[in-house]
């Protein structure tokens, strides 16, 4: 058999303990699975979606109400994207809480972090493509954050929007980034990320007692497990998508309407809550960048996890990283909750 990328990712055998669901939570695998669902459903949506202010709303309504299984495809795309953010975050926490970011996996950790950021950008650009009253303020506020950056902000804003304010040019640009630019980046970095998993010696180092004579599972067993996980994932996604519709509001009108939803998309609610307490740049750009920098610095600045503690959850010598991640997670969750529970203005 000629070696292929598939065989690169599926070596003849891998350590059993490191392929257990209890250890990986299947989060990395599910991220790949969801990305594939997003690619397929997104390509299907492109057959009908028209990225102009006048046609965006009607074309989404056509997909949702008139195209056979259109609502299902749109809901699959929507729910896969939302679940991907959650699953990718779980994947990152698993890596931090098991100390798997240790050298030699430090660089791949950064690749993963950038994938997470790309997923958020994809989610936000996709959200904007709805071009309805539900996204109006999120689009205005979100892009004005770019404008608030000192020195380069205003120029960057014009590059992103193609105009001095949201309009047809912005929709075209968001569309291009969403279906092409960001996707190419995500695929490129994503393939690099999973290629590096094998190059860095598999998902993680097994626990010490299994390192000399580890129990191993075969390539075929791995594929079977992945297949089973994909079956269950597909079924659950279908179930969710068939019965919980993705949000849709009336098309964005020329003139500000009171119907506009003033909340950010859920994954940026924490930023919206931060923004309620201060300056646009410091709260909306600087703090999120600091959060990102802190996450990225974990493998480089914090003490490495001791080799004999690797391969298990919550290694003792990884405490600082675990506590730091926990604090960040609780802060983001708390802010999100506060924003979600805040009474509408």
């Amino acid at each position: 058999m000629r070696p292929s990328f598939f065989h690169h990712l599926h070596p003849p055998t891998i350590p059993a303990s490191q392929s257990r669901f209890r250890y990986t939570l299947g989060a990395g695998g599910y991220s790949v699975f969801l990305t594939l669902v997003l690619l397929v459903s997104g390509a299907l949506l492109m057959f009908y979606y028209v990225p102009t202010p006048a046609e965006a709303g009607p074309s989404i309504q056509m997909i949702t109400f008139l195209v056979p299984f259109g609502a299902l495809v749109r809901n699959l795309h929507y729910w896969s994207a939302q679940i991907l953010v959650v699953v990718a975050a779980i994947h990152m926490l698993r890596v931090i809480f098991t100390g798997a970011y240790n050298s030699p996996r430090r660089f791949n950790y950064l690749l993963g972090l950038s994938l997470f950021v790309l997923a958020l950008f994809l989610d936000f650009t996709g959200y904007v493509l709805r071009w309805d009253e539900g996204v109006r303020w999120a689009l205005v506020a979100g892009t004005n954050l770019v404008d608030s950056i000192p020195w380069i902000g205003p120029g960057l804003y014009r590059l992103v929007m193609g105009a001095s304010q949201p309009g047809p040019a912005a929709l075209t640009r968001f569309y291009t980034w969403h279906i092409f630019g960001l996707v190419v980046l995500l695929l490129g970095v994503g393939v690099w990320h999973i290629f590096r998993v094998r190059r860095d010696g598999g998902i993680a180092v097994p626990p010490p007692e299994q390192r000399s004579t580890p129990q191993r599972i075969s390539r075929f067993e791995l594929v079977r497990r992945e297949g089973l996980a994909a079956l269950i994932g597909t079924a659950v996604l279908l179930l969710v998508s068939a019965f919980i519709p993705a949000p849709l509001a009336p098309p964005m009108s020329e003139v500000t309407s009171q119907a506009a939803d003033s909340s950010a998309p859920w994954f940026f609610l924490w930023v919206q809550q931060l923004l309620k307490s201060g300056d646009a740049f410091w709260m909306g750009v600087f703090v999120p960048l600091v959060v990102l920098a802190v996450l990225g610095a974990i493998p480089y600045l914090l003490p490495a996890v001791k080799p004999d503690e690797l391969g298990r959850w919550f290694p003792r010598s990884g405490r600082p990283a675990q506590v730091l991640a926990l604090i960040l997670v609780l802060a983001v969750l708390g802010l999100t909750l506060a924003a979600a529970l805040a009474p509408p203005a």
Binding site: Q61, L72, L231, T234
Partner: protein, 419 residues
């Protein structure tokens, strides 16, 4: 492992069946492409049971969205209805210009009297100017009875007809909060229920919409005690007196408490119950419908602003019956563009044609349901009930009225019906 794979595939199949079942439950979209807009709409998926709005607005030409707005492709009720103009009533005066107006529709040429939406804004039924002026005058907020304020600010469509024209050119908004007199404040709060911008009072007897739809769609059923009496989805120019009744003859304002006192009974018999106790009226006023005599511009405005109802309402007994010396004014229809033909067309029970002679008012408005027959006598066809009445003329009768006393109240002195 194999048993797990079996369970997994079974689960997936069950879910797929559930998804297919869910898809099968969705209503089958019903498309309609109105010829005017040429844009597909799907309202009929749910609203197939609605009656045609009117013969002049066939759904194949107009569809629903042209008048109602809304999301034409959405099959989710909330989303589809979210952008409808005026909620369930696109003819509310806040949006009538968009829904009913347009240069090809009811904001058309003033010469052809197709500017209905513009004119109705000047009507006393919309401005309520007379009531506001008389109340503000009575309580010292203005020094004459001339109208200055209206429910909403409005500009007359025409310049004054001459130096003697006392009609206002502009009416500003009446703002109860800006009044210093508490009576005027409570007048604003309690008594502004009967103009075309106001929501109807609760109760079956008041059931009507706002704007154009206050009059043009008939309210279902004449039985006032019937629950859920609501206007039906139909437009007509044959408006029965019961529709006028949603506002008129409904009760009185008590000026001491500045509140509306509804009449306690449900008038059923027109002769005995309909008019208020002291009113004088004659047979045609309880047998005919209001619009058999009162003209369209009396009710809907003619583009001038009026100081009060009496100034706008000008049809008198003599308009149809003439005087001792004069028969009623008449006009012979010469061409197809005549307004009378257009109006009669909407009501096919009046077989009007070119060459017919009809009665006209002193402003020249056609009384298109009053035709001169070949023997020189006149015949009325009632617009709603389609009954034919011979029209008795004053000229040649035993009437002994004085020539200078020609207003209806002088006629009532002899012709009022005893109850």
């Amino acid at each position: 492992m194999k048993i797990r794979l079996f369970a997994g595939t079974l689960f997936l199949l069950v879910v797929l069946v559930a998804v297919a079942w869910q898809a099968a439950r969705q209503p089958r979209p019903v498309a309609l492409t109105p010829t005017i807009s040429g844009k597909e709409e799907y309202c009929l998926t749910c609203h197939a049971d609605l009656p045609e709005i009117s013969a002049s607005h066939p759904v194949e030409s107009f569809g629903c969205v042209l008048c109602h707005g809304g999301e034409r492709l959405a099959l989710d009720a909330d989303l589809a209805h979210s952008t409808m103009r005026g909620g369930s009533n696109p003819s509310d005066l806040a949006v009538a210009g968009l829904s009913c107006g347009g240069s090809d529709c009811h904001s058309g040429s003033p010469e052809l009297q197709r500017d209905h939406v513009g004119r109705v804004l000047t009507s006393i039924q919309t401005t309520y100017a007379g009531a506001i002026a008389s109340l503000r005058f009575s309580f010292g907020a203005q020094d004459s009875l001339a109208a200055r304020q209206a429910i909403a600010p409005v500009q007359a469509l025409h310049p004054p007809a001459g130096n003697q024209d006392q009609r206002p050119q502009y009416l500003e908004a009446f703002d109860p909060a800006a009044e210093s007199n508490p009576f005027l404040q409570s007048f604003g709060e309690n008594c502004l229920n009967c103009h075309l911008r106001a929501e109807a009072l609760p109760g079956n007897e008041y059931a009507r919409f706002t704007g154009c739809a206050a009059c043009h769609p008939p309210t279902a059923g004449s039985d006032l005690s019937e629950p859920d009496r609501q206007p039906v989805h139909q437009l007509t120019t044959a408006i029965p007196y019961t529709q006028c009744n949603a506002c008129h003859n409904r009760g009185n304002y008590d000026l001491r408490t500045m509140s509306f006192v509804p009449r306690p009974d449900a008038p059923a018999d027109r002769l005995h119950d309909y008019y208020q106790p002291i009113t004088q009226f004659t047979r045609c006023e309880y047998e005919l419908d209001c619009l058999d005599c009162h003209t369209r511009t009396e009710a809907m405005g003619d583009g001038y602003l009026y100081n009060d109802q009496q100034e706008q309402q000008y049809v008198q007994c003599k308009t149809c019956h003439g005087t001792l010396t004069e028969p009623p004014l008449t006009r012979t229809i010469r061409n197809e563009a005549d307004l009378a033909l257009r109006l009669a067309y909407l009501n096919p029970d009046v077989p009007l044609q070119i060459g017919d002679t009809i009665v006209v008012t002193d402003k020249g408005e056609p009384m298109w349901n009053l035709r001169q027959l070949t023997d020189g006598s006149f015949e009325m066809v009632t617009k709603v009930t389609h009954v034919r009445y011979p029209l008795p003329l004053v000229q040649g009768s035993a009437c002994t009225q004085k020539p200078e006393e020609q207003e209806s109240r002088y006629c009532h002195a002899c012709h009022a019906v005893e109850r």
